[in-house]
Amino acid sequence: MIIDAYAQMGPGIANHASQLIIPMHDTSTPEGLIAIMDRIGIDRSIVFAPKWVGGRFVDPDYVQSNRYVADAVKQHPKRLVGCARVNPNYGADAVKELERCLGEYGFKGVMLDPEWENFHPGDTALVYPLLEIARAKKAPVVFHSWYAPSEPALFWKVATDFPDLQIVIAHMGGRLTVDAALIAERAPNLNLETSDHMYRLGPFAKRLGVRRILFGTNTPFAAPEAELYKVTVRKDLTSEEKDLILGGNAARLYGLG
């Protein structure tokens, strides 16, 4: 089973049309996302709201977006896995929203973006209460990781403070993959997601252990065909290892049957 651990869907997608990085595909609806999954051969997607960039659809706290994801998952329970997105700067409201997502909506994970939402991942007042909720629900937390303050180093302390929380560093730390790998080697609850990462996936996976690597596409902001090809083309990974990266690890982490 192929599971995309990093897909974005919902009405917020349309706001991105004027951005430098535009959606390559229309995933503003679940049908749009599933059409891409069908074309590429992806069985299930762990799906969350795109970052809110302003625009006609007004949803900076992701409350409407999360409800939209919840409805989509209800319609397509075999294809979509709900993942909450909240903005920690909303404080108590973010806590309430996350509780609703992991409770009422039955979402399996949480996505946080320190770079976009502009918070420090180690902020004990804003972020740790959210991580406590995720830990209680055994829900993995995905952190976008690229520019500051989302560089891999910042997740080291978080991982140490929450040793029984599964944390996914998206994009294998962006351009700081070596940093991400060095830290993940020292924090066993850190996992790396592959989308938009480029260099030497095989050697990184081998060194860290393939069970720590999750395939993701960053749909619709990256080309999903290329993201999948990046894994399947490799000669230094066995088909069993590829199966783990492409879906087995996500199924285990998110408790998917």
């Binding site: 430098l20 990085i21 535009i22 390559m24 595909h25 520019y147 351009r175 938009d196 480029m198 260099y199 030497r200 050697p203 960053n218 902001f221 990256a222 080309a223 999903p224 065909e225 290329a226 993201e227 090809y229 990046k230 083309v233 490799r234």
Partner: protein
């Protein structure tokens, strides 16, 4: 699909054996590198030395490496365009080496790495004599771009203005400064963006939309990277096929006087 696939960023040579990190391919010789080009469907590789990071092969001035590029080009003239690589801090020795590469090795461009070799792209005394040779021989320059404080795209403004006839590739679309690199390519006719390695498909699409498909050139960073994956990214973009053809090869073919197969000639803009 593409008329010609030109990889604008290929490293080869014996000093790859100094590298401690794993490589995707053996690219020590021209022959080994041609096998990697074939595997990815690349017609021509623009080849230059890898960065020198110490080790068994002592080649801080890139003489050994440039010789290896010359050998590969002589052995496979249809598959490689060779660029020289020098350390501008060697001053006269660097200029002499570059001239030797142009005259004796018939190399057709210059690759420089301001971060690794440690110089500012605004340094006229080090850089301008080398750029003058590029203008005189009508060959491009290609620069590693990305990393503060020596490789931000804006540092190339004086060079681009002083040498308007010299095509300048900004590699990796400027890495973390990709937005700035795109601005450079929109402002300067002689500035081009090259997609090597870490550029994401979203960044490549943004570069094409804002700077134009005629200003973006496919490059892979072979052997540090799988070229087939970079090609797949470009082929998967939601842009017209003729734009993909420009990016994948026609732009670099034009900039480097690489002859096209007959079928391709009609498409060149």
């Amino acid at each position: 699909m593409a008329d010609i696939v030109v990889d604008s960023h290929v490293h080869l040579g014996p000093t790859l054996q100094n590298h401690s990190s794993p490589l995707e391919f053996d690219a020590v010789t021209g022959k080994a590198t041609v096998a990697a080009l074939d595997e990815a469907g690349i017609d021509v590789g623009i080849a230059f030395a890898p960065l020198y990071e110490g080790g068994k092969f002592d080649d801080a001035d890139y003489k050994l490496a440039n010789y290896a590029i010359a050998q590969a080009c002589a052995e496979f003239p249809d598959r490689f365009v060779g660029y020289a690589r020098v350390n501008p801090n060697r001053r006269k020795a660097a200029i002499d080496e570059y001239k030797h590469c142009l005259d004796d090795y018939k190399l057709r461009g210059l690759m420089l790495h301001p971060d690794w070799e440690s110089f500012y792209p605004t340094n006229q005394s080090l850089l301008w004599p080398l750029a003058e040779l590029c203008a005189e021989y009508k060959v491009p320059m290609t620069f590693h771009v990305g990393y503060y404080p020596k490789c931000q795209p804006m540092l190339f403004i004086p060079l681009a203005e002083a040498f308007p006839t010299v095509p300048i590739y900004l590699k990796h679309i400027g890495y973390e400064y990709w937005r700035d690199a795109v601005i450079m390519a929109t402002r300067y006719e002689n500035v081009y963006l090259e997609t090597a390695g870490a550029s994401t498909s979203g960044e490549i699409l943004a570069a094409i939309r804002w700077a134009g498909a005629n200003k973006v050139c496919y490059g892979s960073d072979l052997p540090y990277c799988l070229p087939a994956v970079v090609i797949k990214k470009i082929e998967s973009l939601p842009i017209p096929d003729e734009d993909k053809a420009l990016v994948l090869g026609l732009n670099s073919a034009r900039l480097n006087n690489i002859p096209l197969r007959k079928a391709a000639k009609a498409v060149v803009r």
